[in-house]
Amino acid sequence: MGPIMKVTSQPSADTLTLVLDGELDASSAVVLDTELNKPGLLNYRKVLIDCQRLSYISSAGLGVFISHLQRLQDSDVKLVFYNMQEKVFNVFEILGLDSLMNIVPTAEEAQAA
C-alpha cells in the first residue's frame, strides 16, 4: 500500500502553502508533523493549508495542527486553512475547532487573511 497522505510544499515570498492530498490519520499524521516542524517555517508570515484534496482527518491529524498553533502564533506566523471539504470541516465543527482556527473558503481569501 502506498502512502495515504502526500504533503507538497509551495514556498512563495512570505507565504508557504502546504497542499495536503489524502487521508490524515494516526498513521499518516507524522508526514504533516515533519513538515510543520521544519525550522524554516517560522521565517514565513503565513502558512496556508490547501485542503481541497484532504479527504479525511482524525483526531491525530487535528492534534498535529493544535500542537503547532501556539508556536506559530508566538512567531507571528498565521495558519490559514482553505478549500476544505464539508465532511472535513464537519470534524472541526464537532469539536468546536472551527471557531479557534482560521478556516476560509477560497485561496484568494486565504491570501488576503
Binding site: M1, I4, E23, D25, A26, S27, Y56, S58, S59, A60, L62, G63, V64, I66, S67, H68, L69, Q70, R71, E86, K87, N90, V91, I94, L95, G96, L97, L100
Partner: protein, 138 residues
Amino acid sequence: MQDHIRISCSRQNLQQVRDFVRGFLLAAQRSELVVNQVVLAVDEVVANFIIHANGEDANQFLDLLLVLSDHHLDIEIEDHGSNLFLPQGATPSPDLREYIRQGRKGGMGMTLVSRIMDRVEFFERNSHTICHLSKVLV
C-alpha cells in the same frame, strides 16, 4: 445487513478499516457526512486499541462487526489482546484553548466518538475487551 473484518494491530491497517466501514454504509445509501462521522468514530476506537491497548503488536488482532437493522447501526470491536482496555469516559468538553496553549497532540479522539455516536460502551467478555458503539442513522 451485517459484515465483519479482522485486522492485525498495526496502524497501517486503519485505512483498511475506514474503507470497510465506508463501503458498508455507502452500500446502505447513507449520506457522505454521516458516513464520514461513523468512519471517524470507528477509526478513533480502533486506533486506541492498536496503539494504547496493544502497543502496535502486529501479532495481536481486532474483530470488527457492523450490523445495520432498519436505521439502527450497531458496531462491535473486539480486542483479542491479553490486556484489558477499559478507558474512562471521554472528557465531555475539553478546553481546546488550553490544548493549543500546551501544544497538546492527543486527548480528543474519544470526545469525537462520544459526540458522534449515540452510545459508547467498553466492557469485558471472555477476557477480551469489547467496545460497542451504536447510533440511529436518520
